[in-house]
Amino acid sequence: MRGRPGLITDYRRDMAIFRTNTQLAWFVVMAIGLVLIGLRMSADVALLGATAAVAAVGAIGLNLVTGWAGQVSLGHAFFLGLGAFTAAVLNGDPDGRLVGYGLEMWVWLPAAGLVAAAAGLLAAPLAFRLRGLYLAFVTLGLVFIGDHFFRELRSWTGGQGVGRPAAEPVLFGFELGRDGEVFGIFLQAEQKFYFFGLLVLLVMAFLAKNLVRSRIGRAFAAVRDRDIAAEIIGVSLTRYKMIAFAISSFYAGIAGALIWMFIGFVEPTSFNILLSIQYVAMVLIGGVATISGSIMGAVFITFLSKMVDKLSGFIPFISEAPTGGFLTKFQVEEMLFGALIIGFLILEPLGLYGLWIRVRNYFKAWPFSY
């Protein structure tokens, strides 16, 4: 194939993680770039980057169930919350006011994923019975019911308006949450978060990429494209819907635990329908059924929130306080998400990934228009 990298002649190569050497090269360049940038980042940009990386893990999870397996889920906020609270409870101070077990990160991080996955399995039976829109309602119901229990189980979650400290960022005695030297390089706490987030994202993204190009991933796509046909060729709907929900919730649990670890505090009312919509927006804006799209979407949405924050200082009719002014920044943010979702749905259903493909094809075909 030397000299004709675009020519792909067998399935194995078509399904490879990096289909061409160019892709691999760009990936390496980007990885090195992200690390180099990370070394020079200011604290708040690093924290934003860390949040974006971990949010991308959550978005990949949602994309697995919605993008690949075609099961619409508006319940992602519930699973994120479950992860965040599991981590907080397992890590919490055993002698404190709230229930806590004082466990280490290597216990609570997988546990956060597993507890969320178990909840996903419990929700899955509804997905065998229901299709499409009814399923959207059920997952929406999960968010409301979850929200209620997060508020009411005060000895675990701290209760509405009070909350509890999130899990502490200590891995094998290594303090992620303190400034200090790593391999002789001085890093701020936020920079450590950033590198840790990138590492987690790398691992989870590769796992997901491998999952979707395996037998399971093909089964997901079959269920999504035509569930009856899938069943007839021997794909068990029950089994693969369960797998999809469990894995998706696992990703959400991990993401929830880590995002609130960065924030340092969990409050029960954070896990509402708006959070779910934010993740749906990441998937739809980034690109349905693409891993790189999920990452782009997560980065885009995370940075967008921050930008609205910053811009609100300059635009006169947007006030920074929670109330007053013509519009508050929270309202602008909500409206912007809504508008972006609508815009992408109508104009570019493939999302940012689709835009990128268009740009790439334009330059590939240059000087011809197509």
Binding site: V72, P125, L126, R129, L130, R131, G132, L133, Y134, A136, F137, V138, L140, G141, F144, I145, D147, H148, F149, R151, E152, L153, I228, I232, I277, V280, L284, T323, G324, F326, L327, Q331, E334, M335, F337, G338, A339, I341, I342, L345, I346, P349
Partner: protein
């Protein structure tokens, strides 16, 4: 026994509000195949128009209400024309997400217009009530039940006997065939949104009557969604039954839950609608009266 009867009356009153909202939802779904998550926004915005006409412009409530209903209908038609019509033929889920976005926009506008204070609707019922034996029935609840019954009967008669109602039923049965028969489907779709907006406004008025228009009106309006789903998304009767069912079970939960099911936490009544929806859907995946989806290969 008194307690039980009292809860039942309260439940029917709240249930008829849910029924009105769920009805709007079902009418939109039947005629346009759009799942509208925007009912909540329409409710709050509609109630605000009443506040505006009766409080800000200082009109009599009975003049303010019809004005608000007309304005809401216009808003409904406008939404259909501007946002929904370009989406005809797009995937159902995309349109549903669009209505979620629309809902956010409507709520932001409505709450911004309302401001931070609780605004009185200027309704004539206030917090007055009548007593029959040990039972207390507020004027507001009576008005709710009576109005809902009248409105629902008018709507059913409209669908059953009027020419335009027939057109709406035809579109609900099969949009393309209706189109081929000369029914103006676009007009039917606009009418569906107008009716839904009017119903939502009425619901908003009764939710806010007496206590005033506050964000709580919005959070209660959401619970009409499970009501519509429980009844079956495409069943008018189902919407009414679903609404009443949820109203009743909420009222019973408020009355008895702290005593018998205290471990579920205070305020469980606010989510019992969703739990009921889970249970109903597990047994009947298309709701109580919804058309069962037939799979053809």
């Amino acid at each position: 026994m008194t307690q039980f009867l009292q809860a039942t009356i309260n439940g029917i009153a709240v249930g008829s509000i849910y029924a009105l909202l769920a009805l709007g939802f079902v009418i939109i779904y039947k005629s346009t195949q759009v799942l509208s998550f925007a009912q909540q926004g329409l409710t709050v915005l509609g109630a605000f128009w009443v506040v505006y006409f009766s409080n800000v412009l200082d009109l009599n409530f009975w003049i303010a209400l019809p004005l608000a209903l007309i304005l809401s209908a216009a808003v409904g038609i406008g939404i259909e024309r501007v946002m929904l019509r370009p989406m005809v033929g797009k995937p159902v889920f995309s349109v549903a997400i669009l209505t979620i976005g629309l809902n956010i926009v409507l709520l932001v506008i409505a709450f911004d217009l309302i401001g931070v204070n609780i605004r009185s609707l200027g309704d004539p019922w206030g917090l007055k009530s009548i007593s029959i034996g040990d039972l207390t029935i507020s004027h507001k609840d009576l008005a709710t039940i009576v109005t809902a019954a009248i409105v629902v009967s008018i709507l059913l008669a409209f669908f059953r006997f009027s020419r335009f109602g027939l057109a709406m039923r035809a579109v609900a049965a099969d949009q393309e065939v209706a189109l081929a028969q000369g029914v103006r489907v676009t007009r039917v779709n606009a009418a569906a949104w107008a009716i839904a907006a009017v119903l939502a406004t009425l619901a908003g008025v009764f939710l806010g009557a007496g206590t005033g228009l506050a964000p709580a009106v919005g959070t209660r309006a959401i619970r009409a969604l499970p009501a519509a789903v429980i009844g079956g998304l495409d069943s008018i009767a189902g919407a009414i039954v679903g609404g009443l069912l949820i109203g009743l079970i909420e009222a019973y939960m408020v009355t008895y839950q702290s005593e018998y099911l205290g471990f579920l936490g205070a305020n469980f009544a606010s989510v019992v609608a969703w739990v009921l929806m889970f249970l109903v859907l597990l047994v009947r995946p298309s709701g109580l009266f919804g058309t069962v989806e037939v799979e053809r290969v």
